[in-house]
Symmetry: D5
Subunit: 135 residues, 10 copies
């Protein structure tokens, strides 16, 4: 289960200037929540969930008061490893958890998932701080 409590932050060292932080995490893996395209009962027993999914997660944000601590982000992303979760939820959930923890001026999360059934999927979601204008 995703564990947002693992996310830690540190004070933004340059809070007066809007600048952008991009992080790319090519080693994301979770499980498919269905017994669908690529899995059957036997496999479900094997992994206590569905077939493995793999993705690169890209995160871009403009920090406000705090930045996300890199090691804690790694641990948070690891916490999806044995969870059954749909692509759309992965991306929107990471965006929700990170924007709560970091309260950025703006943040975009992109999940670029490996081919399944001959089709590759990329999901992109964006958060904008409600009462501050991002640059």
């Amino acid at each position: 289960m995703p564990k947002p409590a693992l996310l830690e932050t540190f004070p933004n060292p340059y809070p007066k200037r809007d600048y952008e932080i991009f992080m790319t995490c090519p080693e994301f893996t979770s499980l498919c929540p269905m017994g669908g395209i690529e899995s059957d009962a036997k496999e479900l027993e094997l992994l206590e969930g569905g077939a493995p999914d793999f993705a690169t997660i890209n995160i871009t944000y403009t920090p406000a008061r705090v930045c996300v601590e890199l090691k804690s982000l790694k641990l948070y992303l690891w916490s999806f490893r044995n969870d059954g979760i749909f692509y759309e939820r992965v991306v929107n959930r990471i965006l929700d958890d990170l924007s709560v923890a970091v309260k950025p001026k703006q943040m975009t999360v992109v999940g670029d998932f490996n081919v399944r059934g001959g089709i590759k999927s990329v999901i992109t979601a964006t958060y904008r701080a409600p009462k501050r204008r991002a640059r």
Copy 2:
């Protein structure tokens, strides 16, 4: 014959946020409807239609209430396999069928067809929901 009835959907898990889903399907194949550049009578007998065409189909959309289910999309794209159909119809037909099934806020379909007669063709068509503003 393209079978839009194969398309299935599931409820958008994050309907309050506009986000984008991109899917790329590099294994599309159909048949040329003519006895034209690359085929003749003999070949038509062989395949009960014209020469094979190959394409990568890219689909980008902003979901509204539902998302397209990935496996059903794969089956729908397979249903073109033995049909004689022009490039322009392939792309506009997929856009029509998908926008009827998914009712997205916005959707773009790109068909990137392999070289024929030394010329490569890419067709791009876009649908916008009539009475909602996409972001």
Copy 3:
């Protein structure tokens, strides 16, 4: 000599929707009209014109009532093979001939010519239909 009479069209199957057709033709060849950089008298005798030029021709357009037929486009481009013609004329001539034949809402032709004398040239020209707004 370029033969625009070779160009044939077929009715646009989706005339109500503005969509884009891109075609790339990497096998264009013509002759240099001058006895210049890469040729001399001896060569002129050989080819009844100047040194060979090679280019990739890219065509992008939004069809109105008709689309250009792919095989006829190939034949039209072949008709430059033994003509002496400058780069600028090649691109603008193709744009003129195609926009007359197809009457598109908008069309761009790009000629990407191979290195000559250590310099590579790319020419880009655009046509817009006079009294219709392209999207």
Copy 4:
């Protein structure tokens, strides 16, 4: 069903010199013979066989008395389109059919199949003429 009768040959124009002909066919498609990883009953109805497979077929040979005619090779490869056939059979079957038709001094067929179930397969088989030494 693969139709080797489609293969035609023409006399090797340089029979005294051993030389090599390589042909690559990136548009091979057949069907999976099983109701396995990527297909189920519903799909079988759709395609009268299993899920589509895609491959690039590479053929290298040293001609003896005849060469394979290019267009007939294309038609022969098309004849696999709606057949259910395993990867190993595809490659060995093409090698058998071509070596019977062309009687080359030596021939290698490589089938480079698209990812299925997260795994990509490449099969390579070689034929050597029994009583002639290839170079």
Copy 5:
């Protein structure tokens, strides 16, 4: 724990000819067995083992009587997902398990592991059948 019992085989359809099968599996993941470079107590609790490792596993073999069934190979590779195991053991263990199950004439396994601590590792091991000459 790696489960070689998951591996299934089918009869080699062309047992008289030596030919080569190459399979590449870019989605291998296991866990680091140590509390070393990239993990600490906290992370061990999280994953019940060490930090995740990722690799591409390449397998090349010349089949004798049987071939490995593709889907069963996928399940076997999935069985490493939550095991703590060193790189050298991963590669040699896969080679041992597969060569017992398939009894190939020859087999090579390559594990190409992602960067850890700024260093990338690739392990290559080969098996040759003891009393048969491979080609």
Copy 6:
């Protein structure tokens, strides 16, 4: 410790025209300020600081009265070699030091840091001269 005093400038030879200078420095290295992810006590003794970081630093600016002298920029970037400093500080510090020294109309600094803990970071910060409008 970063030594901005090393930065030297020369008069902009074309002060009347706004033009852009881009410099990319792929050999930046500094130390991690923490005893964190990739280092421990033993390593700290070794390097008198944390683990090494590596980055490409890209600088783009529109000069006003002066340009930065290339060799002095190289020496300035070398002065980070044995300093413990966070990514965010590296990029913002370089931007501060350079914009003080060069007083450009506009300047952007991008720090593209190598993967650490399976995550790659890119930081981008921009300065705009307060009382002049850049183009």
Copy 7:
């Protein structure tokens, strides 16, 4: 010494239409004017100037009445070969000389210089005709 007198022009064959000409010249070389980073007295004697610089020069323009003749451009660029000249001057000088000779509606010159002292530089300058609006 750069010799703008070498530049020749020919009448724009399509003066009524705004179109774009891009030329890339990957074989530009000049000398460094300083006894700086990469040269010393001994070298200066060798080359009667500083160390060699290498660049790719990219030129994009919208012709008005005339176009630059390709061979004359090549000769003009050769005239920098044994001159000591700074990067910023190279790009702005070429822009000045060409815009005087061709009087284009708009022109951009980009100089992409090879790495020196571990740093690569790219200079971009643009000219716009004073009293005509470019498209």
Copy 8:
């Protein structure tokens, strides 16, 4: 018609040492001799021969007493431009003509032809001097 009389040579400046010369000519074009895959009567009228073929010709040789002069090789390759000739003949003919003109210790000609009918062909032929051992 190929004109081997165009080929000129110059004395090998280092005849005592075996060394290798490789030349690649990416701009070869000839015509298809058949009214086959890509052409019909109409096209034959257009080009007084079949459809255009395009290839890259690679030549590698160890010179003996003479080397081939580069410009004369270019003219010789141009002499195929309007000839109808099969791939196999192109490569073997160039090898014959060049080995007669240059009498090399060894020479290989590779013709890498563009895709026709979805199939790409590469022909490789080698000549070895009869009574001298190549290195």
Copy 9:
């Protein structure tokens, strides 16, 4: 100063089989021992040695009784960071230190150094165990 005492080993888990371990370390840095091409007195003061060098170090070996521990290798390579040392010494020294520590059946070290003075250098050295035959 290189500190071979940092190198640690662990028992080879598969000592009966010859297999190969390849490691690539793209983040090697040391200093130039001379006041030469890229440095002068001022810089020497700055870094207490010469100008920084950067390299990728590739190590391939066949383990005998022990394997090198990955983290200890990283620390050993870090120990060159502030040393002035020539390219040839870097590669041969690493080979000496590692072959003493690991006593491999065979080992190759490749140092691929970044461009200096417009020239890139790659040094390759190999060790073979004296009284054992490597495979």
Copy 10:
């Protein structure tokens, strides 16, 4: 004129072990000795020789007693800048000069010259020490 006297050497620090040094110099330039393909009288006046040639020079050798000093090699290669010299001579001359200066166990020089007249040339020459066996 090439000045081999510029070449300097330093003692091989590991003379007991055969190892390989590879250097690549992508910034070689000389002049064409003829008034041929790319030049005429006017240009000859401009450059006091023929049209500029550009190449990448690759040098691989096994040192015996001495290694070539990198900076001196750079100066030696610069000494060809304003010389008219054929491709074959460039490569063989560099090999002669370097093998005299360095007396290597073995040395190969490759000159990879830019396209001229649509043809690219690569010349490769090898020296082997007469009375010592290279490894």
